[in-house]
Subunit: 269 residues, 2 copies
C-alpha cells in the first residue's frame, strides 16, 4: 500500500495541522452515468455502501461488452465487492474475492474493470483500489497526479490483484475515477477525449463541488461522441472540501443542519 | 399486496395514458440524515442498491437505542436486506429474512424498524414495504395518503412480516419515509412535530424536487428539537416527476445528457 504523502505530496500538512483541518471538512461524492446510445442497458454498475467501522465505499464496475450480458457481469462483480465491504472486509481482499468469483463463474473468459474508492473514517484516509488499465486522477491545488501503474481487469488471470493507494483526507482534493467510455469518447470520428486536459481545465477553475466536475466531464464526453455515446460512460468524483458557507446559511433553521448527511439521486426513465 | 389505484386513487390515469406519461418521467431520491446531538454514531442506516432486473431499492433501518450498539443492529438488518435485494429476491422476502436474521442473532430481544422503498422498472411500480409503527406518506396533487396499517418492527416476534403496498409510477407523486426521530422531534419540550401538517404545507407549495422536501422536513424537525436532535433523524423522499426543463437546457452540450443518471452525496466530517 502506498502512502501518497511520501510520494508526490512533499508539502503535505503535518499530522496535527491535518487533524484540525479534518474537523471542518466535508466529503462530496458525485456520479454521472449515461448508457451507450440506443442500448437497452448500461454495462456499468456503481454501488455505494456504508463501511461498518465508519465511512463509505464506492464500487464502479464496467462489464465486458455492452447490454444485458455486460450488466449481469458487472452486477456479479459489484455485488460480491459490496457485500464483503459491508461486512468490514478490507478493500484489497474484497477486490480479490470479486475477481475470484468472476474467474470461477466464467472460467477466465469474461473480464470487467473494478475500482473501489473508500472514505475510511477510522484511518482518515481515502483508499483507492484499481483493477483497471485506465488511471485514477488525483487533483490537488499543487498538482494533478495520475495513478497509472500497470493494472489488470478482474476475471481473466488466476491471481489478479488490485493496485492500491492510500492518501490522507485533506481539503481541496478530488479523486476522479471513470469507465472506459470516457477516454474512448469520440472514437467514431477518430478524435478521443483528452481526459487529462479536461481535468487541468477543471482544476484551473477551482474545486467548487464534486457535482460540477462529474457533470462537466460527462458533458465533454457526450459532446465528443456527438450526443450519441459509443459506450457506457460513468464518472465518479470524490472531493474533500472545506465546509461550505452554504451550510452556515442553513444554520438559522436549526443549528445542527450543517452536520446533516445528504444524498440525492436523479434517474430519468 | 395492495394496488393503490384501487384504494384511494379513483382518478388514476388509464394504462395507455400512464405508459405515455412514463416515457417522460424522472425519479428523484433525496435523503437527509442527522445524528442525535452529541452522540458518536447514528443508529439509522440508509442503503441503496440497484435491482438486478432494473430499478433501485432503498432500505432505511432504525436500530433500537442509539450510539454504537444501535448502529451494529441497523447495519445487520440493512446488510441482510440489501444483499438479498441485489440478488433479485423480492422485497417481502428480503424484509422477512432481515427480521429472521435479527431475531435469530439476538433471541428476540432487540428490535429495529425497517422500510424498503423500491422503484421497480420491470413492473413500473413503487413497492413500499413497512416494518415500522410509523406511517408512510404518499403525496399526490389530489390527496395526502397515509399508509398506517398496524405494522411491527423486526426482531421481536417470531413470524413478523412487512406490510406491503404497491403503486404505479406516475408523475407528481412523492413517497415520504422516515425514522422515529422525525415525529418525536420536540419531545424534550413536550411539543412534537406534526409531520402531516408539514407535508400538507410542502404539498401546498408543489413538488418541485425531492431534495427540497427532505431538507425542509429535516430542518423543521431540527428546529423543533431546538437545534439539538433528541434522536437520530432520517428522512427519505422518493419523487416521481415530469422531466425538468433543466435537462433540455443541458441538451446543447450533448443530446443524451438529459438521460444521464446522477448521484450526489454530501457527508460533513
Amino acid at each position: 500500500m502506498k502512502f501518497l504523502q511520501f510520494l508526490g505530496f512533499p508539502q503535505f500538512p503535518e499530522f496535527k495541522e491535518l487533524r484540525e483541518l479534518q474537523e471542518s471538512m466535508e466529503i462530496q461524492i458525485a456520479v454521472a452515468k449515461v448508457g451507450k446510445y440506443a442500448a437497452s442497458e448500461s454495462g456499468d454498475t456503481l454501488e455505494m455502501i456504508e463501511r461498518p467501522r465508519g465511512g463509505l465505499s464506492l464500487v464502479l464496475v464496467d462489464g465486458q461488452r455492452s447490454g444485458r450480458g455486460a450488466k449481469a457481469v458487472s452486477n456479479l462483480v459489484a455485488r460480491k465487492a459490496i457485500s464483503l465491504l459491508a461486512e468490514g472486509v478490507r478493500d484489497g481482499a474484497a477486490a480479490r474475492a470479486a475477481h475470484d468469483a468472476l474467474f470461477t463463474q466464467h472460467n477466465g473468459k469474461v473480464q470487467a474493470t473494478l475500482n473501489i474508492v473508500s472514505i475510511d473514517l477510522t484511518s482518515k484516509t481515502l483508499v483507492l483500489s484499481r483493477n483497471n488499465p485506465n488511471p485514477i486522477f488525483i487533483a490537488r491545488k499543487s498538482a494533478l497526479t495520475e495513478l497509472s501503474e500497470t493494472s489488470r481487469p478482474v476475471g481473466l488471470y488466476r491471481h489478479t490483484r488490485p493496485v492500491i493507494a492510500e492518501l490522507p483526507l485533506a481539503p481541496e482534493t478530488a479523486v476522479v475515477v471513470y469507465t472506459d467510455g470516457l477516454p474512448s469518447a469520440g472514437v467514431r470520428r477518430g478524435k478521443l477525449l483528452d481526459v487529462r486536459a479536461e481535468l487541468e481545465r477543471l482544476r484551473g477553475g477551482g474545486l467548487e463541488s464534486a457535482q460540477t466536475w462529474a457533470d462537466r466531464l460527462l458533458a465533454a464526453a457526450v459532446a465528443q461522441d456527438e450526443g450519441r455515446p459509443a459506450d457506457d460512460i460513468s464518472v465518479l468524483v470524490v472531493a474533500v472540501l472545506r465546509r461550505k458557507a452554504a451550510d452556515d446559511r442553513e444554520r438559522p433553521l436549526g443549528q445542527s443542519l450543517g452536520d446533516a448527511r445528504r444524498m440525492l439521486v436523479r434517474m430519468p426513465l
